[in-house]
């Protein structure tokens, strides 16, 4: 075990030293150009999906701190937690002396950190294309651009495997994916909708309504979705909503309730998109086949 770890460390040191020689230039999603004399070794990530991306690209050890919601992979749980998107702790971030801070465009702390002389790389993660682009930029930043393609190939392979698992009877059926009980839905234009589309599933919310629209509850009842997908606790209370007990999908138990961990996986646009597709496909495969419309 120790030998492996030593080997790993020395490989990493080698990588670091080769990377250290070259200047790294990356463009972020604001159009800012960030130049680093060497590939950053101390990274703070303020978004769970970016934390996951850095780790999936094999640079987990370079993370020195994350936001409070980053919890995957296991190793990031012990890192200093620096607050959330609204209340990031500027002082603690600066004290960590990061070479670069990764953040979402909505993070309020960006200007403050830049004024204090830190480099902030801003990355969008709204849809699949954004995720792919973020992985490319991060791989460049980490001095290993080739890893992005390999990681994306793995996500692709997982998605294809998921596609193969979806029973034929369910192909093309329209899904209502509930994000919040208000009710907010994940529409066809969201990254969740994109994954469903890859699995050959339709959506009751067309892209024109935007990625996560707040719907009139009546819209869902009228649309009579073929399959319901929601956090398990939302699914449990659906029959009590006025008129919802008449949803055929609810009566025939054509519904996927996700526990907190799975739901979190599904709602994170990051390197586990392939895993998310597998979770969705597994649920569809487990639905009673005689209930298929």
């Amino acid at each position: 075990m120790n030998a492996w770890r030593a080997l790993g460390l020395s490989v990493m040191a080698l990588l670091a030293s080769t990377a250290a020689g070259a200047t790294v230039v990356v463009h972020d999603d604001r159009g800012a150009v960030l130049t680093f004399a060497a590939s950053p070794q101390r990274i703070v990530s303020l978004l769970p999906s970016l934390t996951e991306s850095v780790c999936a690209l094999g640079a987990c050890t370079r993370l020195v701190g994350t936001d409070r919601y980053s919890n995957v992979p296991e190793s990031v749980r012990t890192l200093p937690k620096l607050g959330g998107i609204e209340d990031a702790q500027v002082e603690r971030i600066v004290a960590l002396r990061p070479d670069v801070v990764l953040a979402a465009p909505s993070a309020r702390v960006i200007e403050r950190l830049e004024a204090l002389g830190l480099k902030v790389l801003v990355l969008e993660s709204r849809d699949h294309a954004d995720v792919r682009h973020s992985l490319d930029v991060l791989a460049q930043l980490l001095g290993a651009p080739e890893r992005a393609a390999a990681l994306w190939a793995r996500i692709d392979a997982q998605t294809r495997a998921a596609m193969a698992r979806v029973p034929l009877a369910w192909r093309g059926q329209r899904v209502y994916f509930e994000v919040d009980a208000t009710p907010y839905a994940a529409g066809a234009g969201s990254f969740i909708g994109e994954t469903l589309q890859q699995l050959g599933m339709g959506n009751i919310v067309p892209p024109a309504l935007g990625p996560f629209p707040k719907l009139n509850p009546e819209y869902v009842v009228r649309a009579q979705p073929d399959v319901l997908m929601a956090p398990a606790r939302n699914l449990a209370e659906m029959p009590q909503r006025p008129g919802w007990s008449r949803l055929v999908a609810l009566q025939k138990k054509r519904a996927c309730g996700f526990d907190a961990a799975r739901y979190e996986l599904l709602t994170r646009p990051g390197p586990r998109l392939g895993e998310a597709a597998l979770v969705l496909a597994d649920c569809l495969a487990r639905l009673p086949i005689d209930a298929a419309p």
Binding site: R68, Y69, G84, D87, D180, A181, T182, P183, L209, G210, P213, K214, L215, N216, P217, E218, Y219, V221, R222, A232, R233, N234, A236, E237, Q240, R241, P242, G243, R246, G257, D259, A260
Partner: protein, 342 residues
């Protein structure tokens, strides 16, 4: 009809008629307003189908009635509060009921998150669905009770008012503290604070109706107390009214009406504040009339906002509380601009 028509009386009759017509028209619009905008064919049965019957009977009808009833309870509570405190700025959420309700809701949301982790999702779902409505109601009344305790009863109006403000500040701060510890409750809490009429079903309608049937006659019987109070507390006392006890009953009516409204539709802003102003402007009258007309005005206001929330960007929805604040608020601003407060 007497020959010497009293102008004030004519005003009152006109307003009453207008409110009835408004309720009927808005009710009809409410039945027709759905996720596809206005569709009258469904309502008048020219295009009968089972789907439309379900949607209208189980979703739009209770939602429409529920919105009116919620607004009515808030309008009534607002009129009671403004009479009780002899202050046109008083609003039904003043005595700590809003803060109490939102704090209790936050506690349930945070707890159901914790329960989901330890006891499983079914238990949490049960807690959440039974808990939110109950918690809002209990919380609203608890907030008022706390205010009464702090003010040592309803002896002094200023003391009561101050206690209400303090309870409001402390409870909402506690709620904020809780959400920073359990951030998963944040979104649902915000939805509650904005108010929502989307999930009002027949159960809610029955509950709200019972509440209004209890609160409105009670308030109406106590209207003479509010009338006496407009002359000042000393004059009221000299008329032989047992002020502390009567005031307590009025506070109870206030708490019941707000607690019920809040438990079904969240913290719908501004209806309770604006409705009595509209009534006083249209037909200045003693409290008996003002109370009931405020209820009808509140109902019309919230139902109107609900219809707009459903149709403006259908099939998407706007938060109804935002619309009531915008509608009521801009009307008050216009009024202020035209001629000081009524």
């Amino acid at each position: 009809v007497t020959l010497t028509a009293n102008p004030a009386r004519v005003q009152r009759q006109r307003l009453a008629l207008a409110l009835v017509v408004l309720a009927a028209v808005l009710g009809l619009l409410g039945l027709a307003a759905g996720s596809e905008g206005f569709v009258f064919a469904d309502v008048f049965g020219t295009a009968p189908n089972a789907d439309a019957a379900l949607v209208i009977g189980q979703i739009r009808a209770p939602r429409t009635l529920g919105a009116w009833l919620t607004g009515a309870l808030l309008g009534l509570a607002g009129a009671v509060a403004q009479g009780l405190f002899r202050n046109p700025l008083a609003d039904p959420f003043l005595l700590g009921s809003a803060a109490g309700a939102s704090f209790a809701v936050t506690v349930v949301l945070a707890a159901s998150g914790a329960v989901a982790r330890s006891l499983g999702v079914d238990a949490a779902g049960w807690l959440a669905q039974l808990g939110l409505v109950g918690a809002a109601c209990v919380g609203a009344m608890g907030g008022v009770l706390l205010t009464l305790l702090l003010a040592r009863g309803a002896q002094q109006t200023t003391r009561l008012l101050l206690a209400g403000v303090v309870v409001g500040v402390v409870l909402s701060a506690l709620g904020d503290l809780l959400t920073s510890a359990a951030p998963e409750a944040l979104r649902a809490r915000q939805v509650f604070m904005l108010g929502s009429t989307g999930f009002l079903g027949w159960n809610s309608v029955v509950l709200l109706a019972v509440g209004l049937v209890i609160a409105a006659p009670l308030a109406w019987r106590l209207a003479r107390v509010l009338d006496a109070l407009t002359l000042g507390e000393d004059s009221a006392r000299s008329l032989g009214l047992a002020l502390p006890r009567l005031r307590l009953v009025l506070v109870a009516v206030l708490a019941l009406a707000t607690g019920l409204a809040v438990s079904q539709a969240g913290l719908v802003a501004f209806v309770g504040l604006v409705a009595p102003h509209l009534v006083r402007r249209a037909a200045p009258s003693p409290h008996g009339y003002t109370l009931l007309a405020s209820a009808a005005t509140g109902g019309a206001l919230l139902l109107g906002a609900d219809v707009l929330a459903r149709t403006l960007i259908a099939p998407q929805e706007l938060p109804v509380g935002v619309l009531t604040a915008l509608l009521g608020g801009s009307y008050l601003l216009w009024l202020l601009h035209r001629r000081g407060m009524p």
